[in-house]
Point group: C2
Chain length 325, copies 2
């Protein structure tokens, strides 16, 4: 049952023309992986900031960023990058946000907006907020977008196109700062949603964190079997298994940090999953065909909704073999 | 660690020219869904049989098959379809195979090969073999290929291209019959592997059946939550959840039958999965970051192997948004 507010709608498939005037003078991106480098690319192609400054803790990543020429400047340190910036976005793993905030806090310009792209919100807020000087607007954000690839080469300008970006401004946040950041994300192609941090963490636990956990888990289970060889798992993966390997190839440090920092919501949602799986296991053991086909019929509606909302392709098999038809 | 016998190899991306001489005089396909209709299409485009006869229990499907004109004849009954056929392939849900075998047994031509495409092998052999007259060669098969769509319109000629087809001939099967069926599948684009039925059922439990089960399960869990709305699940599904909805949109009756007929192997593999998931849950509860990142690093190798073997695309995000880059 898809609610009427979720009727299929036209979704843009192109970023559109650059803005006439940049939204920010100086955008500092701290952390140049898949998300940071995609932000640099879309900020440039859409003209979202007059100057784009990139920083990364890794010298190798800084060198690659300079080589790709996706930012106007590559700073040696995060502190140097944020000086004079009116928008700073932390694009590092969740566990690194507090340390970065501590490092850059003294260098943030009065009136600047500080944001992030972390997949967990409550723990980032606790880790970051104490390090911020008065007069800096902290507006946490999470673009729900990504691929299984990591690093500055993996980014692309349309990563956020028609994806949702969730903002979790603290109580009393300046509405103007929230609106400026919303405008930035909308110009990057995203839809913006405002949410409480705790609710964000619960929603993402079921739509992202637990799916990753069970994908990592089944790939681990398959790898450890003695009765079935690695070669057999690979050959016959088209039976369904290979779909799980995509998200189980995601960045290990990023995902370690997510689970450590959204422990409560993940364990809660995992508990529901396991409870339901136990019921399903019992249906199989008892031969309850009606129960099985009832569930298997019910689950089709959600995919239809996802396709209708432009969050998924309707092409068979994700369109993986579309070129051959 | 991918073994050297699994090094990346060139994989064909086209079916190639039709055969000079058909491999069979009359091919009877019983059940015209995704697999049956794909077999009809590839049999015609590659010239695998002089005449293709289709049958289906549903009058609606028979009418659609006639309208699509993918077979030379659409028979009213399975018995009529198999009369005079030198290759009969049952393409029905696993639970229907025994009944069909009973119905067609008396009409099978001496020397004919009877095969199937069921995703479970041991239970089909038990259900089908007793109904076959002497002189009919029973060579069970399972092409590990499919999409989340069902029905005669969903099929296409390249469905089996570079996928594996597993044959599970009983002890004492005629090697010539096994070879003729292998040649048929190779000409349809597939790679052929020979296996014991019980081993097939174990391998597919982990590479296909348990993945479908946990995909159905998490989609069900998400649908039933009270704290997170259906609309939120759909909007934020790009965080990973949507990958699971594809296989959870597969045919409910087909999958009900698979779980009821591969109970033992599915419950065994599900037990391993749950055991591993419990260990992972404990790592999260205890904050064992090293344990988490170790597992998350290990799982990347399997995906690399699957891509190198041509069973998966290397395009980010399954190539879903490739058109925009």
């Amino acid at each position: 049952m898809i609610s009427s507010s979720l009727r299929a709608r036209r979704v843009p498939d192109r970023l559109g023309a650059p803005l006439n005037e940049p939204l920010f003078e100086r955008l500092a991106l701290i952390g140049i992986g898949l998300i940071g480098s995609s932000l640099a690319r879309v900020a440039r192609s859409k003209g979202l900031a007059r100057t784009i400054v990139a920083a990364d803790a890794s010298g190798e990543v800084r060198a690659k960023t300079a080589e790709l020429a996706i930012a106007d400047k590559v700073a040696e340190t995060a502190a140097a990058a944020v000086a004079g910036a009116d928008l700073v976005i932390l694009c590092a793993p969740v566990g690194a946000m507090g340390t970065i905030a501590q490092e850059i806090g003294p260098y943030l310009a009065p009136g600047a907006i500080l944001s992030d792209v972390g997949s967990v919100k409550a723990s980032i807020i606790s880790a970051v907020a104490p390090h911020l000087p008065a007069g800096v607007h902290f507006v946490p954000a999470h673009p729900v977008a990504g691929t299984e690839y990591s690093g500055p080469e993996a980014g692309f300008a349309t990563l956020f196109l028609n994806r949702w970006c969730i903002l979790t401004p603290p109580d009393g946040a300046d509405p103007k700062a929230v609106e400026r950041l919303s405008a930035f994300w909308r110009a990057a192609g995203a839809n913006v949603e405002i949410m409480q941090p705790a609710h964000h963490d619960l929603v993402l636990a079921i739509t992202s964190h637990v799916p990753h956990l069970i994908a990592y888990n089944i790939v681990g289970t398959a790898a450890d079997l003695e009765e079935v060889t690695r070669s057999e798992v690979i050959k016959f993966s088209a039976g369904g298994f290979r779909d799980f390997t995509r998200i189980a190839a995601s960045d290990p440090i990023m995902w370690r940090d997510i689970f450590l920092n959204n422990k409560e919501a993940v364990l809660e949602m995992l508990g529901r999953f396991t409870e339901d799986l136990t019921a399903l296991q019992r249906m199989i053991r008892r031969g309850d065909g009606q129960g099985l086909s009832d569930l298997f019929t019910r689950t089709r509606a959600i995919r239809r909704g996802i396709i209708e909302q432009g969050q998924e392709t309707a092409a068979p098999d994700f369109g993986r073999r579309a070129g051959e038809r």
